[in-house]
Amino acid sequence: MTTTISGGVAVYLEGVRRVFDNQRAVIAGMDLRIEAGEFLAVLGPSGCGKSTLLRMIARLSAPNAGQIRLEPDAERFQTAFVFQDAHLLPWRNVLANAALPLELMGEAKARRDEKARAALEQVGLLDALERYPAELSGGMRMRVSLARALVTEPRLLLLDEPFAALDEITRFHLDVQLRDLWQRRGMTVIFVTHSVSEAAFLANRAVVLGRRGGDIKLDRRLELPAVRSNDLRGDPRLGQEMKILLGAIEE
């Protein structure tokens, strides 16, 4: 397995500020450079602006000041978003859910079904195409959500605590799968999480945000092997990285 870092986009945040209606600055002037093909974990306490940051990068909300640039920014729909819960359309089967983004983008049915099958194959769900979300386990639903994000072959994948609601075994399994997908596709990944162990296991770089205004308390390149399997979880190097991240959070 080799790491490719050619398929991603770089994300540049310059003086980004986001104020909510109650005039509280959730993010008060953030500067951050995320290089193309990077796997960045964003950590921080609740309410520190992690999800707000992700929504602004996805252009689902706009900053009040500053700018967010994607480079290259030529293509539409190069960003995909995975939410905290799977958020599937319950009235659609697995295949139709995975194909939804392509349908909204106006792709022909035969082509989108083909691409959706390929995305579902990557997350190991080819045998569940006709099943409905209500008939799936939490882990399977999240894998459909992941396939739905991957179906457009995004260059930037944003994940907002996607595995938080899952049991630990399923989460371990999905962590490995996500890391593997990132390595094969070479996209840029920004992964928001509360879990220090998940951040250290998945990412190449971690950013810890402070409680107030989204200030960056730690920006660290993780010194861990490129290929990560569950064996790494007992590795002292992972423990050391976790300790550093935890220290920054608790500071």
Binding site: A58, R76, Q84, L89, P90, P101, E103
Partner: protein, 251 residues
């Protein structure tokens, strides 16, 4: 099937037998409460008249109900388009809920004349509000993350309405339709009291003749009509929601 039919049949048999016994033994005067056997006899004796009246009431109630369903859903869609539209028009929608139908029915006769048109209008006025209120509530409570997803892939408001907001609102639409079904029959009967025809007229004429058995027979048929309409909506709801909504899934 046995599990579904048996529980409501037990009280029916019990109360029918008790009523029959109480009337036959003289505990209750027959001119106040007819014996169930007398009601059945009235049904058989006046079967042609009652069947014709039932068909006429069914046509009025069904037409009013269909109008309520179509216009109610359309109104909810329009009301959901913006807060401003909602603030401007929703109070007028509530008019349908608060209007004393029996007082408005003579007005309907002036506008639509004697006969089926007034009956349909009366059924419509009685039954449209639950459809508007429930559909609107369903549309407005669409999952914000799914709305974000549609936005991310450039879906137009119309596409979002038809592919997300309306399907997501279906369970609440059906709740509105269930309530509306019974009200449509009530509205039709009230309309018939004033505009003539159908079971409403049968009740009115039988009352002046002090034929309480026939009044009860007509009331029973009107109730069965409401029940039938309710059952039809339940069937439709089951067919459309059984794969994905908890309300229609077997335990």
């Amino acid at each position: 099937m046995r599990k579904t039919l048996l529980p409501p049949l037990i009280p029916l048999v019990f109360f029918t037998l008790t009523a029959e016994l109480l009337v036959r033994e003289g505990f209750v005067r027959a001119y106040l409460v007819p014996a169930p056997s007398a009601v059945v006899r009235a049904m058989i004796d006046s079967r042609v008249e009652l069947v014709q009246a039932l068909l006429s009431t069914s046509a009025g109630a069904l037409a009013g109900f269909v109008m309520s369903a179509l216009l109610g859903i359309a109104s909810a869609v329009i009301l959901s388009s913006s807060r401003g539209v909602q603030r401007a028009f929703y109070p007028y929608a509530i008019f349908f809920q608060t209007v004393p139908l029996i007082a408005v029915a003579p007005l309907l006769v002036i506008w639509f004349g004697f006969g089926i048109r007034t009956v349909i209008a009366s059924a419509f006025v009685a039954s449209v509000f639950p459809v508007i209120a429930n559909t609107l509530s369903g549309i407005l409570s669409t999952d914000p993350s799914l709305r974000d997803l549609f936005k991310l892939y450039g879906a137009s408001p119309l596409v979002t309405l038809f592919k997300l907001r309306l399907p997501a609102a279906l369970p609440q639409v059906f709740t509105g339709l269930r309530v509306s079904a019974g009200l449509a029959v009530i509205g039709a009967i009230v309309g018939e009291f004033i505009a003539g025809g159908g079971l409403g007229s049968v009740v009115e004429i039988a009352r002046t003749q002090q034929r309480i058995d026939k009044v009860s027979a007509a009331v029973l048929l009107a109730s069965l009509l409401g029940l039938g309409l309710f059952g039809l909506i339940n069937l439709l709801s089951y067919l459309m929601l059984r794969r994905w909504h908890a309300s229609e899934q077997a335990e």
